[in-house]
Amino acid sequence: MNHTTLKIIYTNFWSHPVRSLGLVILTAIASVTLLSGVIFSKSLDAGFEQLSSRMGADLLIVPYGVDIQNQSILLQGDFNHHTLPREVLDFVQKLPGVTAASPQFYISTLSASCCDKKVNIIGFDPKTDFTIKPWIRKTYKNDFIPGSVIVGSDIQIENGEKIKFFDKEFTVVGTLEPLGNKLDQTIFADVETVELLRQAAASKGYNISSEGGPSSILANFEEGTDFEKISQKIQEQFNDLQVIQRKNIFDNVIATARSFKIAVWLIAGFFLFTVIAVIYIAFTVSTNERKREFATLLIIGATRKKLADIVLGESLLASGSGAIAGTLFGAVGIISFRFLIQENLQIPFLLPNISAIILTIVGALFIPVIAGVGASYHIAKKIGNIDVYTALKEDA
């Protein structure tokens, strides 16, 4: 395209500022919804993948009163001082069909030196644990030394630095990979460290958990084991506890996430369709108004291809500007507000890796542009086949 062709495209774009800006805004919205739709879905998928590996247990036992409908039990445990009797763990470990059972201790501290707000601590037993350890092993491969802790990715303390709880210092020995949920703001410690913490709290007059019983027990079954039977046996033996199958809790979380995903995709699809429809209508009207201009250009030596290029160029300018603006806006928005999204939706939300993000950005840039230019293609083809005599006569 030479300078004059570009000038024709540019001047025509600005000679109808309302129409042109309308198209730009519409394409920008399509790009934003497309970008956020894909990133949102991918973030949910990545969050679930991480959550699933974290919550790799078939069964969860928690004290009565813990809100099991709220998925936060999966994400961060329950820090309301509910504990299970110590004997539950022994009983579950010995049940036929149970291959592994391990306790977890949920402790909530007061304001700590590291954080502006109180910190949640999850204690686990390295000897029996099968959910946290595999995950921690990705970043920390040594034995767990009493007095050392591992921090979630959002707790900004470097390895080797100290963190103080109840005037007792603990050493940070590892930082975990992001999970995209509240576990990123949680501290993990083995049972011995948890005991040290409990003693430190007690010496300052705080009771941070009841009588040292586990906050929850996670268990795995042999394949083909009947969950109902196991649950019945546990509940016959102990009162005041709830036995939850992992699937039931996940179903709830997955259903919520699926609704969000569907809504986001529907919105993205709607705007993409609107872009196609509006560009088609706007360019049909605009080219009909300008038939004589196109006929005149043909007469003075423009090729028919150039006429088509002008129409496609105008649509490219409108949809391209919109897609660039929308993608920038969407990318900045998602990256800036991901914590807010995580906080408000209460579902795992973990940004995908950089190559997936770049691919999504490229898609959000090109799909609305292809849709926009594609919508004007038929009109461009019609203008390329314009009959000069009819065009000049019709609009005279």
């Binding site: 030479n2 300078h3 004059t4 062709t5 000038k7 024709i8 001047t11 025509n12 600005w14 000679s15 004589r292 201009e293 006929a295 005149t296 250009l297 043909l298 007469i299 003075i300 030596g301 423009a302 090729t303 028919r304 291809k305 150039k306 009959d387 000069v388 005599y389 000049l392 006569k393 609009d395 005279a396």
Partner: protein, 227 residues
């Protein structure tokens, strides 16, 4: 230069029925000819000129410039030929509203990144009496001024064939004479001029005449008074 049209027929469909706007027309023009095609509205003059200018392909027949059949050329070559050799002034030519008069006139050069002959453009604007409008936009011009802009644009590239369809419509007598005088001067320099009109002023400048009636082209009709 010679323009040669043989057996040109152009059919259109109106209310489901075919009719011939131009019917087996034979036409030729040499360099330096000032040809006038006279005929009433709807006689097929514009359709014939569109075919001669290479913008409308006839249903049958052919048009050649210097032996080169126009409609066997591809889009690009035909466009370039129109740009370099033909100055066509159609009846209802438009101007690009976003461009100034000067930009509209030099559009045929700038489309192909050609160097603009500013002296030539200035002289054209002066001769057509629109030099003072160079920086105006077309929407601020009268019908007569727009007509002169279309004429200037057709002449801007110094074509060797000028085809004009009712070039003096919207013009007063004085401006009509200016236009025909300009065409006559160009014809004397070897440019072939073809004018379709029902303005009898044109006959005083022509050396060849045709009469068009109901799609049929009749050559050498002689004095217009005999029509």
């Amino acid at each position: 230069m010679i323009l040669n049209g043989n057996n040109i027929t152009k059919q259109y469909t109106r209310r489901g029925e075919k009719f011939s706007a131009v019917n087996n027309a034979d036409f030729f023009a040499w360099s330096g000819d000032f040809t006038v095609i006279f005929g009433e509205s709807g006689s097929g003059k514009s359709t014939l000129l569109n075919a001669l200018a290479g913008v409308t392909k006839p249903t049958s027949g052919n048009v050649e410039i210097d032996g080169q059949p126009l409609f066997s050329l591809n889009d690009e070559d035909l466009a370039r030929l129109r740009n370099e050799r033909i100055g066509y002034i159609p009846q209802n030519a438009a101007s690009l509203s976003a461009f100034t008069v000067a930009e509209n006139i030099t559009l045929s050069s700038s489309l192909y990144n050609k160097k603009i002959d500013k002296e030539h453009i200035k002289a054209l604007l002066d001769k057509l009496g629109i030099a003072h409008l160079a920086n105006e936009h077309p929407q601020n011009l009268s019908g007569g001024e727009l007509r002169r802009v279309a004429i200037a644009r057709a002449l801007a590239n110094k074509p060797d064939l000028i085809i004009a369809d009712e070039p003096t419509s919207n013009l007063d007598e004085e401006n009509s004479r200016k236009v025909y005088s300009l065409f006559a001067r160009l014809a004397r320099t070897g440019v072939a001029i073809i004018v379709a009109t029902h303005d009898k002023t044109a006959f005083g400048y022509s050396n060849r005449t045709y009469h068009m009636k109901s799609g049929t082209l009749i050559p050498d009709i002689g004095e217009y008074g005999n029509l």
